[in-house]
Amino acid sequence: MTLEFSATIEERGVDLALDIADQEVIAILGPNGAGKSTILQVISGLLRPDRGHVKLDGRTLLNVGHAETPRVWVPPHDRGVALLAQEPLLFPHLTALDNVAFGPRCAGQSRHRATSSATHWLKEVDALEYAARKPAQLSGGQAQRVSVARALAAEPRLLLLDEPMAALDIAIAPSIRQMLRRVLRGQSAIIVTHDVLDALLLADRVVVVDQGDVVEQGLTAEVLARPRSAFAARIAGLNMVQGDLEGSGVRDETGLVVQGVPDPSAAQYGRAVAVFRPSAVGVYLHPPGGSIRNVIPVTVTEMEPRGDLIRVRSAHLSADITAGSVAELDLVPGAKVLFAVKASEVAVYSA
């Protein structure tokens, strides 16, 4: 995919330009109100900027407010750009199957071909069993799977995803994210998110947007490993262990092994990363019992308040725990403690 994009919207204080060449999946990261969704609305044709230019794979979709070049406005239905929103927005009067067949039908396919295409995509997102159900009979996660199938069945040149996991129960977001990682292979896509995991797992390249401007862009791994903007540094506040794949875990240079849930498509060996949130980390003085598979001895280097939690940092890892726990454990910098994280909280995938 190549994309040239620029848009100015006075009313929203948005003035953005980005150029993307030969990348498949782009993540646009940024805090709420940074203008991320505005970019998607302009690309999809749902919003007409005061001044703007959109060129996708060599085809000009939009050119307005530039006196020296001819005005171009391609209507949304003719752009080949599908939009997947936070809410599934399945048409309530159609079954899951008919929802997915909507795009193929609009493209002029016969009922039979549209149905077989819809069946294929429902199978791809593991939602074939819901084919005959109306949206009201689906859970949030099931509906979002069907919604992904519907967007892909339209065979868009570019798929736009607007925080597709934000409205989902946190328990089911990981499985949807893995599904997206699978189905987005070979599909040009732009995903807007404030969740760094989406960027890590789904995107080749990230664009960091703040206050209506692009503040940083680059290959996802580079941006998050060496953040150059305050926002990227903040959002990269994840624990990541890089190393070689070993079973369902990752072994780093120091010999530390972190067990996790490997992406099923990951290679059986080679470079890999284990990624987990500081909030998934528990802090103990003595080895905890139970099913926690990752127990890592660390020395506390510093502590800082973070919302209603305290971020406890060691040299490479962080844990977010309650102030009550900090008091109970009598934590001070220099204390030797154990960081524990369940393998189910750790995403493992090829680096």
Partner: protein, 263 residues
Amino acid sequence: MVVRPHHGLPTWVFVPAAAGALFVILPLAAMLTRVQWSRFFSLITSDSSTAALMLSLRTSSASTLLCVIFGVPMAMILARTSFRGQHLLRSLVLLPLVLPPVVGGIALLYTFGRKGLLGESLDILGIQIAFSTTAVVLAQTFVALPFLVVSLEGALQTAGQRYEAVAATLGARPSTVFRRVTIPLVLPGLASGAVLSFARSLGEFGATITFAGSLEGVTRTLPLEIYLQRETDPDAAVALSLVLVVVAVVVVGLARGGRGAAA
């Protein structure tokens, strides 16, 4: 047992509320007491009654159809676009809701009547509308159209544009969006709007008698027949009134059913 939250209303509101309800229900009951049940069926099946009833059903169906044909696009434009003078246009379109129907009849007469604004041109083409069944349909459409527009515009506003936006990005042309997304989503609102328009058409009196007159079998609809019978045969008027009450009850039930499905 269904647990209901405490209503929290002051006790005294029940008194005026009950009086108001009684004010609506009592006259209907009073009318029921005057129905001559022994003659009821012969009264409502007399030639003039049947002709009036059939004419009412035919013309009301036709005006409901016209309301849908013109009202759906009007509601869509009012709900989905914004332009200068939109508020004024909306107010003007909804004017027949508050206008005395007889005023509407006069307005129609000066538009489509023989000496009217369009009537003279139509007359040259050999088309005469005033005092014909067409005039009945036009009079009913004039008073009933706002009901459909108001009802559907509300449904469109409630439904929002998000589904339509998604449909467009899936490759649906505006006409396809309209047919496969917009209309199915607002169908309950459209149905209740159409039912209300039908009911308003069925009850129309003032604009009809002014613009279309009262020719038996041509322009004398059921309300006109009732008004005329009242002077010669009050029993027949009461019997026919009961027929209209029953139709109205059925219509209100249908409209409520449609809204219930929408919720």
